[in-house]
């Protein structure tokens, strides 16, 4: 970090520097700008002093100082979040966990690894290569996102269909609470009695405190894996196939769907062999013991053919499998190159209604003359309709906004929910009252207030008005300046 030339006059800055050191605390304009954004479209964030603690004790000191100075704080990992969960509002202290990147302990017998929150998701699984174990949650951003961020968002990923999202893979968490006390939730062995504070902390979007050490469960590598690439001349046929697979009692390791627009964007560089003339491509992965895998391949192939699949290709080796997955996991980046701006939703719908809702999503996009691209976790009904556009064209933002609202409304009408894995953050707050009643939100607020009575830990997020449910109905619009 750049050496400071001026004398420190800000007592808050001085306190934070004395808690860490001058190298790891900054109020420089470039750092504040950098940490004012995350992977979402939210603009207008304002970071205050940015800190880079390396230990639990240092995090606790930062939180203690924030308490003493009555400041808000926001925790941030790699900043890959897609809902603005780590976008700071009103100059809070930004506590960045990327230097807390040590794998502290791996116990293969207990199948648990203790990690610091800044460990990159993929780094953990790479470090476990050859041991027969891996960390199951695999968000598409796994090359960059941190496990602390996964905990905050209860992240998913393609392989969470069979193995469950992050919450199922966290045994215990050491947390610095907003009052600066250090506690441990859950247990790396056995099961604790009392309220499931571990379970409820995961997915708290950084509003309930800061995870400083995480005991993650390690999953045994399956003895056999098969990746199938199925292509269809209608996206509805692909969606029907997904429903049929689940209805027939098969829970594949992953079941991902990409539409024609996505395939066209991804194939040129991924060279995964996705058929460019298909309207939809479905990736199905099954794993387990060899006979079961063979049975499931056979059944999925049969169901796909019945539902109109043109071709079913089974990857013959690891390299081919990796190419297929590389295309899927890089889809978002490839799409972003098509137009300068994007707006992404993350709703979940009942799987049996996939075909019908996808059709409606296309109709909505057409109505507003927008390009929509669909790449999503079809197996659990988690849609990712991505509207791509050029915000410089007058009137476009308004269309995007209206189309987004209709997509959300369509998903909720189909019996769905607002977010499957990205969380609410800042971006989806205004939709919360469409899914939850005032009383439902009061229950959520009761939880939040218990953890953070002063509302200092990542405030202004998740619930429509932060601390007070009395004002929920008054917030109808995203605040000025905090939009694309």
């Amino acid at each position: 970090m750049r050496k400071r030339r001026q004398k420190i006059t800000d007592p808050l800055l001085e306190a934070l520097i004395s808690a860490l050191d001058e190298e790891r605390v900054t109020d420089g304009a470039s750092a504040r700008l950098l940490y004012s954004k995350d992977g979402s479209v939210m603009e207008g964030g304002r970071a205050g002093i940015v800190c880079f603690p390396e230990t639990t004790e240092e995090v606790a000191k930062c939180v203690e100082i924030s308490k003493k100075f009555d400041c808000e704080f926001v925790t941030r990992g790699a900043g890959t979040g897609l809902a603005g969960g780590s976008v700071p509002c009103n100059d809070p202290i930004v506590i960045v966990t990327t230097r807390m990147n040590k794998i502290l302990e791996v116990d293969l017998e207990k199948r648990v690894a203790w990690v610091q929150p800044g460990v990159v998701n993929l780094d953990l699984s790479l470090s476990l290569r050859g041991t027969g174990f891996h960390f199951a949650p695999d968000p598409s951003s796994q090359q960059a996102c941190t496990i602390g961020g996964n905990v905050a968002n209860n992240s998913g990923g393609p392989h969470c269909l069979a193995y469950g999202v992050t919450n199922s893979h966290v045994a215990a968490i050491e947390v610095v609470l907003p009052d600066a006390s250090v506690v441990e939730f859950g247990s790396s062995e056995g099961e604790m009695c009392g309220y499931d504070l571990r379970g409820v902390f995961v997915g708290g979007e950084g509003t309930l405190g800061i995870a400083t050490r995480i005991a993650v469960r390690l999953t045994e590598d399956p003895p056999a894996v098969a990746t199938l690439l199925l292509d269809f001349s209608k996206i509805t046929e692909a969606a029907e196939t997904v429903s049929a697979i689940i209805a027939n009692g098969i829970l594949p390791a992953a079941l991902e769907l990409m539409d024609k627009n996505v395939v066209a964007a991804v194939e040129p560089f991924a060279k995964a062999g996705y058929p460019l003339d298909a309207e939809a491509v479905l990736i199905a992965e099954v794993d387990g013991l060899p006979d079961g895998v063979s049975k499931e391949i056979e059944k999925i192939t049969q169901l796909a053919k019945v539902n109109g699949a043109r071709q079913v290709r089974i990857a013959t080796d690891q390299e081919e499998r990796e190419r297929i997955w590389k295309g899927r996991k890089s889809a978002f980046g490839a799409i972003a190159k098509i137009k300068p701006d994007y707006y992404l939703h993350d709703t979940v719908i009942p799987r049996r209604r996939l075909a019908e809702v996808i059709e409606k999503v296309y109709d909505i996009a057409e109505k507003y003359e927008l390009l929509v691209m669909n790449v999503f976790h079809a197996g659990d009904g988690n849609l990712h309709p991505l509207l791509v556009f050029d915000a410089r064209i007058p009137g476009t933002l308004e269309k995007v906004r209206k189309a987004g609202e209709e997509i959300v409304a369509t998903s909720l009408e189909a019996g769905g929910v607002l977010s499957g894995e990205h969380g609410i953050g800042l971006e989806k707050q205004r939709f919360m009252t469409q899914q939850f009643s005032k009383r439902d939100l009061e229950a959520q607020d009761a939880l939040r207030r218990a953890f953070d009575p002063d509302n200092r830990s990542n405030p202004h997020k998740v619930l429509p008005t932060g601390a007070s449910c009395g004002e929920i109905d008054s917030l109808k619009e995203i605040p000025e300046g905090v939009w694309i």
């Binding site: 919450n167 056995g190 309220y195 409820v200 769905g416």
Partner: protein, 292 residues
């Protein structure tokens, strides 16, 4: 089936109140205060959706009735309980199956709960889909809470396909020997002298793994071993007369769990949660989830 409105009316707004299922675990989690009004949750399977792998059910429904209905679709829920126990009771206690290493825990099962709060008003926790991170996951808080935060009326649960084959084996193999022979065993238990292994999956795979386990002295059992209820705690000891799950460290015992030391900061946080959800302390007074 009793409606949620009727259930909310029974719960009322001011008197001390408890919800009773089958009462199979009534003796655990502290002593209920005397003279508390007793209510019961709606009973009945509302909607089985095998193609979604979810089921909507009244919390007062017997767990074995639900499992029976789901088995018609070759599905099940990963909840456990003593014979006759209810869905709501199993959730309130947080009773996971001894097959948890393979099928997950009670906390993973509850997707949505329609509840009555301490104010007598209904609220919804979670959502009806298999994946959901919309807002705070109050469902996680309700499981294992002994009804001290809200009273669960109707729930949506995650179901899963039943395995094609289940086989119990017993012998003297260590956990390492067992896991060297088989992939993701559903349960590996010990009584201190013998090991009990449950394999589940497709028939051909299980036959092969059973053969492999034979090489380390594990032989098939005709009937499943008796497994007492799970006891919360993190002791590594085999409980007297009970079993220890070698994969998860969970104890199964008929003996009540030992008193555990709960750190002061956890106690304080839990008190704030209780007080925010139930300011007058009218829900299940005397019950304490930390005494489970």
């Amino acid at each position: 089936m009793k409606s949620m409105e009727e259930f909310a009316q029974e719960v009322g707004v001011d008197s001390l109140v408890t919800v009773r299922g089958a009462g199979t675990r009534w003796g655990i989690g502290g002593s209920l205060l005397a003279g508390v009004k007793e209510v019961s949750a709606p009973i009945g399977v509302v909607n089985v959706q095998p193609e979604e792998m979810i089921v909507e059910v009244g919390a007062g429904t017997k767990l074995d009735v639900l499992q029976q209905e789901l088995s018609e679709f070759n599905q099940e829920v990963a909840l456990a309980g003593l014979p006759g126990s209810t869905v709501g009771g199993s959730l309130a206690v947080g009773s996971s199956s001894y097959r948890r290493a393979r099928i997950g825990t009670a906390a993973d099962v509850l997707l949505q709960a329609v509840c009555v709060g301490a104010d007598g008003k209904q609220f919804v926790a979670g959502g009806p889909t298999v994946k959901n991170v919309t807002g705070y996951d109050i469902c996680k808080l309700l499981v294992s809470s002994l009804g001290t935060l809200a009273l669960i009326g109707v729930v949506t649960l995650r179901t899963r396909p039943k395995p094609e084959r289940e086989t119990w084996l017993t012998g003297g193999a260590s956990l390492k020997e067992v896991t060297n022979c088989c992939y993701r065993p559903a349960s590996v238990l010990t009584d201190g002298s013998k090991t009990f292994v449950l394999l589940e999956g497709y028939a051909e795979d299980i036959e092969k793994e059973s053969k492999s386990l034979k090489s380390v002295g594990m032989l098939p059992m005709d009937t499943a071993p008796y497994i007492p209820p799970a006891v919360k705690g993190n002791s590594k000891e085999v409980p007297k007369g009970g079993l220890l799950d070698l994969q998860t460290g969970i104890q199964y015992s008929t003996q009540p769990s030992q008193q555990k030391q709960v750190p002061e900061s956890i106690k304080e946080l839990s008190k704030r949660i209780k007080s925010n959800f139930d300011p007058t302390g009218r829900l299940n007074p005397g019950r304490d989830p930390y005494l489970l």
